[in-house]
């Protein structure tokens, strides 16, 4: 830490927030200095992004005050925060795909000359901002829809800079970036701090936190744990404060009597324009975990198996018989199920009732069995402990966890033989997570084959009987159950992992295994 005391650019004291009677944040103090990278870390649900939303003016705090550059401010609309110089880059970009980079950057405050938009100034200003960041390969007149995820993120950052922001907060910036793109982000953050801009960096990836941040604030369960200089913290200590409770036993053990039987689904040399050379065998009663970094093609793998974006080469065998799943319909008929990564976009019809959603697959594929299925739905819903006012309540009013349970019920009704999970526990409460794990165990016990794509290494390791790791669209490695997280990471990043990087994971009962890296709750691989 350099000894130069920098003046505080942003201070928040006693921030509290609650939704419908449940306190989400209480007593949060935060102080961000000029030119500093301030890390904000915390477990899933610790309240990180709520705090960011309060600072960004999306929500108003129930308690506490915020000072920006010395004076007290209350932001009731994101734009007020931006104009003041506090800009947030959200995980889902606020961009218009059909418009050009320059038009997006200056949306809402187009520079004008004599009443008309000064296009030349807009384009040159954008180009200026881009070159300031050393980015020359993005054309200000390019359509944002045609840019890669990383390039779109840069546009968001440029948009922040165009407000000559003094504080830029980034929510999970590297969630969907590949290596060299992360590399550039580092460089950009450094240029920003070099120019005195403070950066609030929200991330799960401790490596990045320690690479970039000067100081780190830790949140746990909506409360402020501590704010320390990065040097004064070791990763292990950070994780201990972050988690505070061993989660190892979080994952239910295999139910007795679960035996790994014959192969249910065999893929030989399968591939399409996204994945290639897939040799995978899913056996009855076995839970196969699929690890890998963002963009390594895990979602494309399950969508390939399920036929939504089917394989164009290789052979597929289901219970010994050759099968070709050209569409989701043929896969469902074959007894497959896919719990998709994005509940809202691909899993649920939000304005319909719980019952209608639960019967959606049966009605779409096995119309004849609707009556029988309808009888089983209440039983399935209660076994998953879906808490809803009634089966006719609109799914839209349910919590994330309950919505995911409805999606599970939707597939259980068809009693699938091979169940594919894609990030099944992202963004749901602990109770729901445990219900998902419980279900996987029960499926395994019933002799079904389970494939689970997950970005949370503890979950991947805790639940899988066998782990396959994907890298750049190919199955890079296969690891036995209970292998350490760093082994998974090594396979995922394709590097030989050096010994000294090992950091004890306080949460794991056995001594000295794996560094704690609850790898980022990233968006799906697909940009």
């Amino acid at each position: 830490m350099s000894d130069v005391v920098r003046d505080t650019v942003l201070r928040a004291e006693g921030i509290g927030k609650s939704f419908f009677g449940v306190t989400v944040l209480s007593g949060i103090d935060l102080e961000v200095r000029r030119g500093e990278v301030h890390g904000l870390v915390g477990e899933n649900g610790a309240g990180k992004s709520t705090l960011m939303k309060i600072l960004a003016g999306v929500h108003a705090p129930d308690a506490g005050e915020v000072w920006f550059e010395g004076e007290r401010v209350t932001f009731t609309h994101p734009r007020q925060a931006m104009d003041a110089g506090l800009v947030t880059v959200f995980q889902e970009f606020n961009l218009l795909p059909e418009r050009t980079v320059a038009q997006n950057v200056f949306l809402g405050r187009e520079p004008r000359r004599a009443g008309f938009i000064d296009r030349r100034a807009m384009i040159s200003r954008t180009r200026e901002l881009l070159t300031e960041l050393g980015v020359t390969f993005i054309e200000p007149t390019a359509r944002v829809g045609s840019l890669t995820v990383a390039e779109q993120q840069i546009v968001e950052i440029v948009k922040a800079l165009s407000f000559d922001a003094r504080v830029i907060s980034m929510d999970e910036p590297t969630a969907a970036l590949s290596d060299h793109e992360v590399e550039l982000l580092y460089a950009i953050v450094r240029t920003l701090t070099a120019r005195g801009v403070a950066v609030i960096y929200v991330s799960h990836r401790l490596k990045e936190i320690f690479d970039l941040c000067d100081r780190i604030t830790i949140l746990k369960d909506g409360a402020l744990v501590s704010t320390d200089d990065a040097d004064a913290l070791t990763p292990g200590e950070l994780v201990r404060r972050m988690v505070g409770r061993p989660i190892q036993s979080y994952f239910p053990e295999a139910i007795e009597g679960t035996t790994i039987g014959g192969p249910r689904l065999e893929l030989r040399g399968c591939g399409n324009d996204q994945v290639d050379g897939v040799d995978l065998v899913l056996r009855a009663g076995e839970i196969v975990g699929v690890g890998g970094l963002q963009g390594s093609g895990r979602t494309e793998l399950v969508e390939g198996i399920f036929g939504v974006h089917g394989f164009t080469r290789g052979t597929v065998q289901l219970d010994g018989r050759p099968a070709r799943f050209g569409s989701a319909r043929s896969a469902v008929r074959g007894g497959l199920a896919l719990v998709t990564e994005d509940r809202k976009a691909q899993g649920l019809a939000l304005a319909q009732s719980v019952l209608d959603n639960a019967l959606l697959v049966v009605r779409s594929v096995f119309a004849g069995r609707t009556r029988a299925a309808r009888a089983r739905v209440p039983g399935i819903l209660s076994s998953l402990e879906v808490s809803a006012r009634g089966s006719d309540q609109e799914v839209r009013f349910l919590s994330g966890g309950n919505q995911q349970k409805v999606v599970l019920a939707k597939w259980l009704v068809t009693d699938p033989q091979v169940v594919l999970f894609d990030e099944p526990t992202r963004g749901i409460d602990v109770g729901a997570k445990i219900a998902v794990y419980q279900l996987m165990r029960e499926l395994a016990q019933a002799g079904r084959a389970v494939l689970m794509v997950s970005s949370e290494l503890p979950e991947l390791i805790g639940m899988s009987d066998r782990i396959v790791v994907m890298r750049d669209g190919r199955l890079a490695a296969e690891l036995p159950a209970g292998s350490a997280e760093h082994e998974v990471l090594a396979a995922a990043t394709g590097t030989t992992e050096a010994a000294d990087d090992v950091v004890a994971d306080p949460r794991v009962a056995e001594p000295g295994v794996a560094d704690p890296d609850p790898s980022g709750v990233g968006k799906g691989d697909a940009p």
């Binding site: 418009r99 949306l107 938009i117 580092y186 460089a187 690479d211 590097t495």
Partner: protein, 376 residues
């Protein structure tokens, strides 16, 4: 590396050229020349009225709304103009302003019903259309008023084969194209039509652009009504309904590549769509096609043309592997950008180090090992 982005405006103009080519051949078989002055004038005249209405409709559809009341606004405009002018050239300016003011008022009503009362554009303008029909039937028995000769000149004369009305329409198209590209309201209209949420979060007020779009749409329908009054020499309560301009203008706009869901489109695409209709109608008239068959051809042309480029609009993920499994280098665009990114990163690092602003500390270690260090 960036594939030449063929936007739909280019495709529409390509379809137009194709239709003209076919038209010219067909017309030749009947022994007439497609490019003779009289024929060109007939086509361009056919474009002026529909063009004006379609320009207004484009603005509304860009904002993800719709205006079905334009037919009645046109009839009302022609009547107000003709009755206010009453044959006396002196009151032309006042008549025109009054007409456009009334139309703007109707447009404002449409806009407010859609944005404030949150009634879908289809139903709101259908309702306002019915109200206008009631007004037309009660206050005007038949054609009324008379347009002085000076105003009729606009509808009748032209420069060579190009009628003045078409020049006015093209001119107004340029103005609207300029406003759309160069004013905040224009930019915000695209934003509100594309994704109201993103617009709201960027501080754009989502109501005004749509209201302005509805006002302008009705004003342009008024201009079309004025043009009709000038051509007819008199106001008529059924002139809008005769042409079925509401649905035809929506078809022309969609034919021009503007998305019915809003957010993307261009004035020139719409003008292209209007031209396609005009050419098709002209060719059929020259070949004395039975009027019932004309409708059949129009219906087919609308669906076929829109089908040509609507298939193209589906966004696909970028291919990572070639057909035989050969790697195409990962995400093509991202990979291509990789070297520039690394170069930019290194340059920035150097810059940052020179200024020495930020501390050495832990970050230094990370900066140097740009190689494949363990990175989560």
């Amino acid at each position: 590396m960036k594939r030449l982005r063929i936007d739909s405006t280019v495709i529409v103009l390509a379809i137009l050229v194709l239709v003209i080519a076919i038209g010219a051949i067909l017309v030749a078989t009947v022994g007439r020349s497609f490019f003779s002055p009289g024929n060109i004038r007939d086509i361009l005249t056919g474009m002026s009225v529909l063009g004006l209405v379609a320009i207004g409709q484009t603005l509304v559809i860009l904002g993800a709304s719709l205006d079905l009341s334009v037919t009645y606004v046109m009839s009302l405009a022609s009547l107000i103009a003709a009755t206010t002018m009453n044959g006396n050239p002196a009151n032309i300016p006042w008549a025109v302003t009054l007409t456009l003011l009334v139309c703007a008022g109707i447009g404002l009503a449409n806009g407010l019903i859609v944005t404030v009362l949150k009634v879908n554009g289809f139903i709101a303008t259908l309702g306002v259309g019915l109200i206008l029909q009631g007004v037309l039937n009660t206050s005007f028995q038949g054609s009324a008023g008379s347009v002085p000769w000076a105003f009729q000149l606009i509808g009748a004369t032209g420069i060579g084969p190009v009628p003045i009305s078409t020049l006015i329409m093209i001119g107004l198209a340029v103005v609207v194209w300029w406003l759309l590209g160069r004013t905040r309201t224009g930019a915000h209209l695209f934003a509100v039509g594309g994704d109201p949420e993103v617009a709201r979060l960027s501080g754009v007020r989502t109501k005004p652009p749509l209201i302005v779009a509805h006002v302008l749409c009705s004003v342009f329908a008024g201009l079309a009504g004025l043009l009709l009054a000038s051509r007819l020499g008199v106001g008529s309560p059924t002139v809008g309904q005769q042409g079925g301009y509401a649905l035809l203008s929506i078809a022309a706009v969609v034919l021009g590549g503007t998305l019915l869901l809003g957010g993307r489109g261009s004035i020139w695409g719409t003008i292209g769509g209007v031209a396609i209709f005009a050419v098709v109608d002209n060719v059929m008239s020259v070949m004395q096609v039975n009027p019932f068959l004309k409708d059949v051809v129009r219906g087919v042309v609308i669906v076929a043309a829109v089908a040509v480029y609507s298939r193209r609009a589906i966004v696909r993920r970028r291919a990572r592997f070639g057909p035989g499994g050969t790697r195409t280098g990962g995400d093509a665009a991202a990979a291509a950008a990789a070297p520039d990114m690394v170069a930019a990163a290194v340059a920035l690092e150097a810059g940052a180090k020179d200024t020495g602003a930020n501390d050495t500390g832990a970050t230094d270690a990370a900066a140097t090992d740009a190689g494949g260090e363990v990175r989560s």
